[in-house]
């Protein structure tokens, strides 16, 4: 089972990095207005590799929890707690990434909002798996190349990443405020403007 964790960790990292690189090249290609066929293929590549990557990420999370160290040792390590935290974030980012692509298809690239959201999810997912990979490096070999950047940024992955109650309440209040505002905006917007742009009442 330890080997299964190693294999699934390698596979999800490779596939999700491929998804991120594909999306990055797609954006650059679109910006430059060149290589439309290549960017189209890369867009599909990102979707497929993100899907496979997410499956292996979940397998990796399960095998990591069940087959590497005993529970007492896992919970005794700040590094492991941080790794679990960012693995969860990565799963959420890549799940939303896939849901957006699944719901809107390739048409998402025609909407600035969806495009921004889609790329943001890929970026968030990529950064999360980069961090978890770095923590995995520390757990396995006590080192990670990313430390060069993390140490400069003052980030210590050996200390538990936790938010204080004040921060948690503030963030949640902010998110719920945004949700309420967005619902109100949608109602207001629908009242005055339909999808074809004509001003109408409900």
């Amino acid at each position: 089972m330890t080997h299964l964790h190693t294999i699934s960790a390698e596979l999800h990292t490779g596939m999700l990095v491929l998804a991120f690189i594909s999306i990055s090249i797609k954006i650059i290609g679109d910006k430059l207005g060149r290589f439309p066929k290549v960017t189209q293929v890369l867009e599909q590549t990102a979707y497929v590799s993100a899907l496979s990557g997410l499956i292996f990420l979940i397998v990796s999370a399960i095998t990591g929890l069940t087959s590497t160290w005993p529970k007492e040792a896992l919970l005794a390590s700040p590094l492991v707690l941080n790794k679990i935290l960012f693995t969860e974030f990565a799963i959420v980012f890549w799940t939303i990434f896939l849901l957006i692509r699944w719901k809107y298809g390739a048409d998402l690239w025609k909407s600035l909002k969806l495009k921004t959201l889609y790329v943001s999810m890929a970026t968030g997912g990529f950064l999360s798996i980069t961090l978890t990979g770095s923590m995995g490096g520390h757990l396995a070999k006590n080192e990670s190349l990313l430390d060069l950047f993390l140490h400069r940024a003052g980030i210590n992955t050996h200390a538990v990443f936790i938010l204080s109650e004040t921060w948690i309440i503030s963030i949640l209040a902010f998110v719920f405020s945004i949700l309420i505002v967005s619902i109100l905006l949608r109602k207001k917007y629908r009242y005055y403007k339909t999808r074809d742009g004509a001003l109408q009442g409900p």
Partner: protein
């Protein structure tokens, strides 16, 4: 007989006796050859909890140590952890593969991790080493100074040390140890006892209650906070996404 002749004979005899005692002392030192012979070591601690043996002999400057397990993976010893679990322990571990010993001088830089002394800014203080492996198990032998003057090693003195013993069935040094035990050993007096099992080892009732520090280990509150942080993160990511999807796009082409 002249007085000077008598003094000369006395001096020669003194020198000879000193030389014979010295040579006997040094001839008694274990040979680091990967084999443990009967009575090769002056001290032996058998940990019956995990069926692992620790042998050692001291000279004025060095400790000669042998570890034996009944498994074919890595085997290791951690001396004097100062924090929780293995944190702060001076660790030596190794394995034998294809007849060749791989041995490392490590330091536990966290409760659950250890790194090469050299990677942490220290030095490798294993002076000699050898190992062997067969169907009966693994033996590693090594020699190091009692005081290596390395901040990532423990200077061994005449006191009792908490000693972590472990071995695995694989050669992967990062694999978790299925067999582990804690003992209390005084390397100078040769006394040792297992933390969990009474009357093991070669005498002495020297079990102490340990008060490990908990600075580096996440507390129950930390774990709960970590869980809350995770939930907050997930709700935030999902919440902001939903909010963005709800907000109508300018031009209405969502």
């Amino acid at each position: 007989m002249k007085k000077s002749t008598l003094m000369g004979i006395t001096a020669v005899l003194t020198l000879l006796s000193f030389a014979s005692v010295s040579s006997a002392f040094y001839e008694g030192m274990p040979s680091i050859d990967g084999q443990i012979q009967n009575d090769e070591y002056q001290n032996h601690y058998k940990d019956s909890k995990i069926n692992m043996d620790v042998y050692w002999t001291l000279d004025e400057e060095n400790i000669y140590m042998a570890l034996r397990s009944h498994s074919k993976g890595w085997i290791g010893i951690g001396i004097d952890p100062t924090g929780s679990l293995m944190q702060g322990a001076d660790i030596i571990l190794g394995y034998v593969k294809d007849g060749k010993l791989s041995i490392e001088d490590n330091f536990a830089n966290s409760a659950v991790n250890h790194a090469l002394d050299t990677a942490l800014g220290g030095k490798n203080d294993i002076l000699e080493s050898a190992g062997s492996e067969n169907d009966k198990g693994t033996v590693i032998e090594f020699k190091r100074k009692l005081n290596t003057a390395d901040s990532f090693d423990r200077a061994l003195t005449d006191r009792e040390y908490k000693v972590l013993l472990a071995y695995s069935d694989t050669d992967d040094l990062t694999s978790y140890h299925p067999a582990k035990s804690t003992a209390f050993i005084n390397f100078f007096s040769g006394k040792g006892q297992n933390e969990d099992i009474d009357n093991v080892g070669n005498g002495g009732s020297i079990v102490k209650t340990q008060n490990p520090t908990t600075d580096s280990i996440p507390t129950e509150k930390n774990r709960f906070q970590s869980f809350l942080t995770m939930l907050t993160g997930i709700i935030s990511i999902a919440g902001v996404t939903i909010a963005l999807l709800i907000i109508p796009e300018r031009g209405g082409n969502e």
